[in-house]
Amino acid sequence: MSGRKIGEVILDLQNISLRFGGVKALTNISFDVREHEVRAIIGPNGAGKSSMLNVINGVYHPQEGRINFRGEERRKMEPHMAAMQGIARTFQNIALFKGMTVLDNVMTGRITKMKANFLEQAIRIGRAGREEVEHRKKVEEVIDFLEIQHIRKTPVGRLPYGLQKRVELARALAAEPSMLLLDEPMAGMNVEEKQDMCRFILDVNDQFGTTIVLIEHDMGVVMDISDRVVVLDYGKKIGDGTPDEVRNNQEVIAAYLGVAH
C-alpha cells in the first residue's frame, strides 16, 4: 500500500465476552487495531462479527472484558461517546433515516460538530444559519467524494440498494471519523458496485488516514484490501494475522471448509 504509515495500536480489546440471556455471542476475544490500517473481521454466519462491532461502538455492552481506545480504558463504550471520539459506523442492514433526503442524512452525520443551541436554531440567528452553510460545504465534499451529487435531494427510501449503501458510507464519513466500522459494505452488490465500494474504502483510508475495521464475506476483497485479518467462529477467535497467515491457518481452513477436527 502506498503513502500511509501504519501506526500504534489505538484500539485494544481484551477478553471480551458477550451473552444474550443464555446464548454466548462472544467468548473471551482479544484483538487490537492499529492506526491507519485496514483491519478485517471474517467468519461464517453467526460467528459474532456484527456483535464485535457493536461492542466496539457501544451498542452492546459485554459482560466481561476491557476496551482501550486511544489510551482510555473502559469496561464498556456508549454509542454517543464513541461517536464523539471519532468512531463512525455503517450497518449490515442499511440503517439510513428513510424519511429524510440524502442531503439531510449526510448532514445528520455532522451532528456532533454542530454547536448552535436550541433558541438560535428556532429563531435562526447567530451561529445557527452560519453553521448550516459551513457544514453544508463539508457535506458537499463528502457527496462529491462518493459521487452521489445527482441524488442529493432524493429521499433515501426511494434509492436502489447499492446507492443506499453508499449514502450510509457518506453519512459516516461526514463525521470525519478517525475510525470507521463497516459492517458488510459490499453485501448484495454486483461486481461493479463492489469495485466502486472497494475504491472508496481504499481512498478513504489513503487520503484521510482513516482506520478501517470491516466485516466482509467476499474473501477475494478481504484478502486484497486488508492489512490484518481476525477470524471468528462460534463467538471465538480462531485466527489473527496478515491475509497470508490467515489463509494458511489450519483452523481457519477447517472452519470455512468444514474439515473434521
Binding site: 463512525a88 440503517a95 439531510d104
Partner: protein, 355 residues
C-alpha cells in the same frame, strides 16, 4: 405556467437553504400572510372569525405541536389535549396570582409549564416505544384532567374546576372584538409556525427525524437519544400549552378541565393524520379540514337529509365520517393533504407538460 423555478439558480448554499427556496413560494406565502392579516378581518363577518377562523388557528397550533412530537420525532401521543389544559390553567394562574402580569408573558409561562409537564410524561419514552408509549400518554391525559378538577387551587376554587379567562390587554389595548383577538392569535401562530419550520430544518429537526426513523443508528452517529426525545416532548407540549391558553383566552373564554378530554386529543391526532404527518403545512390543512367538516356535515344533514333522519344523526354521522376518513387517508394517502398539496405544486411546476 407562472410557477416555474427554471432560471432560478442557487449559487450559494445560503440561497439553497432558504426557508422557501422557490421565488414563487416566497411570494405565495407573503400573499397568504397579507390576506390573513389585512383582507380577512375586513371581509369576514364576526361569526366566521369567532367560530371558524380563531379555532382553526388555535387547533393548527396544537396540531403543529403534536406533529413535532409524532410526525418529526416519531413519538405517538394521545394526550395533547391534556397539555393544552396545562397551558390554559397555568396561564390563568399566572394572570391571577402575579400582579401586572403581561398577557403574552402569561402565555409563554403557560407554554413553559406545559413543557415541564410534557417532559415529565415524556420520561417513559426513554424506555418504551410505539403503542406502549401511546398508552403511557393516556396516563397524562387522565391524570392531568383529574388533577385540574380535583385540586381547587388550579381553578381558584371554583366549582368543578371551571375558569373564566381574564381580559387580554397589551400596553393598554384591550382585545375585546373578534377581529382583534383573531389578529393576536394569528400573530402568535405565525411566529410559532416560523420557529417550528426553522427547528425542523436545523440540526434539532434532523435529530428528531433520525430518532424517528432509526434510533440505533441515530445513537451511533452521536445523537443523545434522551435529550432529543425530551426536547421533542418539551417543544411539542409548549406549542400545545400555548394553544390551550389561546383556546381559553381568545376562543371559549370559560373552560373546564373536562373540556380538554380524550376526544379533543384524538381530534388533534386526526388533524395531523389527515393534514400530513411530519409536515408544517399539514398541521394547518388538517386543522382546517377538521374544523370545517362538522359544519359542512351539519349543513348537509339539515339541507339534504332534512326530515329523513332525526337531527341527532348528525353527531353520529360525524363520528363515522371522521373515523372513515382516518382509515381512508391512512390507506390511500398516508402523508395526508400536505402530500396532495405537494403533488399539486409538482404538477404546476411542469404544467402544461405531463412529466
Amino acid at each position: 405556467m407562472f410557477y416555474r423555478e427554471a432560471g432560478q439558480f442557487k449559487t450559494t448554499y445560503l440561497a439553497d437553504q432558504q426557508i422557501f427556496p422557490i421565488t414563487q413560494d416566497r411570494i405565495g406565502v407573503l400573499l397568504i400572510l397579507a390576506v390573513a392579516f389585512v383582507a380577512v378581518p375586513m371581509l369576514f363577518n364576526e361569526y366566521w372569525i369567532k367560530a371558524i377562523l380563531i379555532p382553526f388557528l388555535i387547533f393548527s397550533l396544537a396540531a403543529l405541536g403534536l406533529n413535532i412530537l409524532t410526525g418529526y420525532a416519531g413519538q405517538l401521543s394521545l394526550g395533547s389535549a391534556a397539555f393544552m389544559a396545562v397551558g390554559a390553567f397555568a396561564s390563568y394562574n399566572f394572570m391571577l396570582r402575579v400582579d401586572g402580569m403581561p398577557i403574552l408573558i402569561a402565555f409563554v409561562c403557560g407554554g413553559l409549564s406545559a413543557a415541564v409537564v410534557g417532559i415529565a410524561f415524556g420520561l417513559p419514552s426513554l424506555r418504551i416505544k410505539g403503542f406502549y408509549l401511546a398508552v403511557a400518554t393516556l396516563a397524562a391525559q387522565f391524570f392531568i384532567v383529574w388533577a385540574l378538577t380535583k385540586f381547587g387551587w388550579f381553578s381558584n376554587y371554583s366549582s368543578s374546576g371551571v375558569i373564566t379567562a381574564q381580559e387580554m390587554q397589551i400596553f393598554g389595548y384591550k382585545f375585546v372584538t373578534a377581529e382583534s383577538k383573531y389578529l393576536l392569535v394569528l400573530s402568535i401562530v405565525v411566529l410559532l409556525a416560523l420557529a417550528a419550520k426553522n427547528m425542523v430544518r436545523s440540526s434539532i429537526g434532523r435529530a428528531w427525524m433520525a430518532v424517528r426513523d432509526m434510533d440505533v443508528a441515530a445513537e451511533v452517529i452521536g445523537i443523545r437519544i434522551m435529550h432529543t426525545k425530551l426536547l421533542a416532548f418539551a417543544v411539542s407540549s409548549f406549542y400545545c400549552g400555548v394553544a390551550g391558553a389561546l383556546y381559553a383566552y381568545a376562543y371559549i373564554g370559560t373552560v373546564e378541565p373536562e373540556g380538554f378530554n380524550l376526544d379533543l386529543s384524538f381530534k388533534i391526532l386526526f388533524m395531523i393524520i389527515i393534514g400530513g404527518v411530519g409536515s408544517i403545512v399539514g398541521a394547518f390543512l388538517g386543522a382546517a379540514f377538521i374544523v370545517l367538516l362538522p359544519i359542512a356535515l351539519d349543513v348537509m344533514v339539515q339541507e339534504w337529509l332534512h326530515g329523513i333522519f332525526p337531527p341527532s344523526i348528525s353527531s353520529n354521522l360525524q363520528l363515522v365520517v371522521f373515523g372513515g376518513l382516518i382509515i381512508f387517508f391512512l390507506i390511500v394517502e398516508p402523508h395526508g393533504l400536505a402530500r396532495l398539496w405537494q403533488i399539486g405544486k409538482q404538477k404546476l411546476r411542469l404544467w402544461p407538460f405531463p412529466h
